[in-house]
Amino acid sequence: MKPAPFAWERPADLAALVERLATAPGSVKLIAGGQSLGPMLNLRLVEPDLVLDITGIAELRQARVEDNVLVLGACVTHADIEDGRVPDLTGGALQRVAAAIAYRPVRNRGTIGGSLVHADPAADWLSALTALGAEVEIAGRNGRRTMPVERFVTGALDVALSPGEMLVAIRIPAMPEGAAWGYVKHCAKIGEFAHAIAAVRLEPEAGRCRAVIGAVEGPPLLLADASPLFGGRIGPDFATCFDARTADSVLAASGMTDPVDRHIHVTVLARAVAQAARPVRSLLPEAA
């Protein structure tokens, strides 16, 4: 359980990091908190020649609000969000997701950027940020670009970063007045990777809903217009209109063949919808 040898560098600024990432010989992995990459290194599933520690870069450890968008640097930790050390434009949605990720010692080092780039389908931020309509900001030697999270995550453990590129920030739009949020995951043991995740972001007055079904086999399943789940119309009574059979057929059409899997995911989705109708204030994980 010891990693294969690697070199370690901790560049002090972003320009140096991006340059090194693009030009270093051999295989290079970026590390932030190391809570996803660390186990893979220890298990020797990943054997890079060079590990580039990105936590020395001040820009990546910042959070700010820009035109009603919360911009979180890639190295902001789950605990930073859980403890309210970053601004919140989501009515506490981010905070509740963060507080239930893994365990406190993991949250103290694990970062939102690292979690997204690792792109484990069962990780919380993949589903939550997709439902919130967040974007990622990517930097490389040729400048920066942004893209929505749902396009960034291309498969299990697979993201749309080109060689030499890195994720530098996540941009999360403010939740509008009157919007409702539900986020539920199912874990057999608290803190483990989820077996099913559901996130819903509803605007009953505008008749809009984004729904995400996560912890599936690939990227989270996004229903950018989730009105079919509510009989085609979303209003203040959305919770009573939720149609489990439509949700089930959506999952079947997406390739989820096991009826037990579909049942669990539909149940978790129904709970997320119910939670959106009656928001919880507790940061405690759901009791399985």
Binding site: A7, G34, G38, R44, T55, V76, G155, K189
Partner: protein, 398 residues
């Protein structure tokens, strides 16, 4: 790195940090994690190592005053950090109250989890508003104890919290701290030079010699369908051509000359950050009349730490449109070793779908007389567990 430090030895990193209040300078391999640095370099063996992948919590220490996994914190990430181990909590009042409560409530037996448990419990005592059993159990869920059943531990932590709150000691409301991972605040630049790449030892890739004839009960199963734009007979015939199939499977290589019923080879796979080469053997059976077959394979990754056995049964049937074929694969596999520890069966199926799509495209091209792509370098993203089962199997059928 800090001024005044001598150049570190080759392949080592020099760093300074504060451990239990004392300034320390150490040299360590970059791959050393904080747990090893504490135990091997500083003789602080109170920090225990259990799973070494962040699950068991035995190695939990305080990093910049906050609990963190020592096993997932590499040496280079600790430059300038302040570390407190269980040895450093001797005079800590909260830890003293917890030790007394652990004794009173029989909250330990073998003691292996106790150092990490005390560090995690101390954090709960400081932060939780009251002695709520559920919150305490949730808070301790990242620390595994195999002796006590947790009952005594939970009672001990509850009693300390209750006593402190009754005595008017309020919970800490999350002290102000800078953003970012604990331990990484100082931002000191460190570097350990790259070894010349040629020094890397060549991986040993032993081909497994496994009995492929006996009964096999896989741990995981799934079904995968692949559609081809060519008729069933042509597809079935090509599936019997091991060399052609290997050429259509990105990353695959055959070693030696395949026989009709046996093939040996390897598959290079890339799954997110994981790159691995698997080698193995496969035994092939075909039923010409039923247009079906069975491939049974076994193999291991370079270094031989993960092992797999797998079986694919396939049937070629007419597709929906005339002149097309649909191949249905029933895949069963068993995986052991680090990959199994890391992987989850669900991820395997995502990979299966992606492989199938590429494979079908290449095979269709081959049937159309177009050369398949150069093998081995296609950035096909293969996935975890499945890898191996599938590899041996595909290869074989291939």
């Amino acid at each position: 790195m800090s001024a005044g430090l001598a150049e570190p030895a080759a392949g080592r990193i020099a760093l300074s940090l504060t451990v239990n209040g004392r300034f320390r300078r150490i040299e360590a391999e970059p791959r050393s994690h904080l747990g090893d640095v504490l135990r091997e370099h500083l003789d602080l063996t109170g920090t225990h190592l259990g799973c070494e992948h962040g699950v068991c919590g035995a190695c939990t220490v305080l990093l910049d005053g906050e609990p963190a996994r020592a096993c997932l914190t590499f040496a280079g990430a600790c430059a300038g950090a302040s570390v407190t181990t269980i040895e450093g909590l001797d005079d800590d009042p909260v830890a003293a109250e917890l030790r007394a409560a652990f004794n009173r409530e029989h909250a330990l037996q073998c003691g292996y989890c106790t150092p990490g448990m005390l560090v995690a419990a101390r954090d709960l005592v400081l932060r939780l508003p009251d002695a709520d059993e559920r919150r305490i159990r949730i808070g301790l869920s990242g620390n595994l104890c195999r002796c006590t059943g947790y009952a005594g531990i939970v009672r001990a932590v509850m009693s300390v919290i209750a006593a402190r709150r009754a005595g008017g000691i309020a919970p800490e409301a999350g002290a102000a701290r800078a953003l970012g991972p604990v331990g990484a605040r100082i931002g000191e630049a460190v570097a350990a030079p790259l070894r010349p790449l040629a020094e890397r030892p060549a991986s040993l890739a032993p081909a497994m010699s496994q009995d492929l004839a006996g009964a096999f009960e896989p741990a995981h199963r799934f079904t995968q369908a692949i559609d081809f734009v060519h008729p069933p007979d042509a597809v079935f015939a090509l599936l019997g051509d091991i060399k052609a199939v290997a050429a259509c499977l990105p990353g695959a290589v055959l070693t030696g000359k395949p026989a009709p019923d046996m093939a040996e080879g390897g598959l290079q796979v890339r799954i997110g950050p994981i790159a691995a080469t698997f080698r193995g053997r496969a035994r092939i059976e075909r039923d010409e009349a039923a247009l079906s077959g069975r491939v049974r394979g076994a193999g291991s990754d370079a270094g031989g730490r993960s092992a797999t056995e797998g079986e694919i049964r396939y049937r070629v049937a007419p597709g929906e449109a005339p002149g097309t074929a649909r191949v249905t694969l029933d895949v069963g596999y068993t995986l052991t070793g680090p990959l199994a520890q890391f992987g989850r069966p669900g991820l395997v199926r995502d990979l299966a779908g992606r492989i199938a799509a590429d494979f079908a495209r290449n095979l269709d091209a081959c049937l159309s007389g177009i050369a398949p792509p150069a093998s081995g370098l296609n950035p096909l993203r293969l996935l975890l567990g499945l890898v191996r089962a599938r590899i041996a199997a595909w290869l074989g059928r291939s």
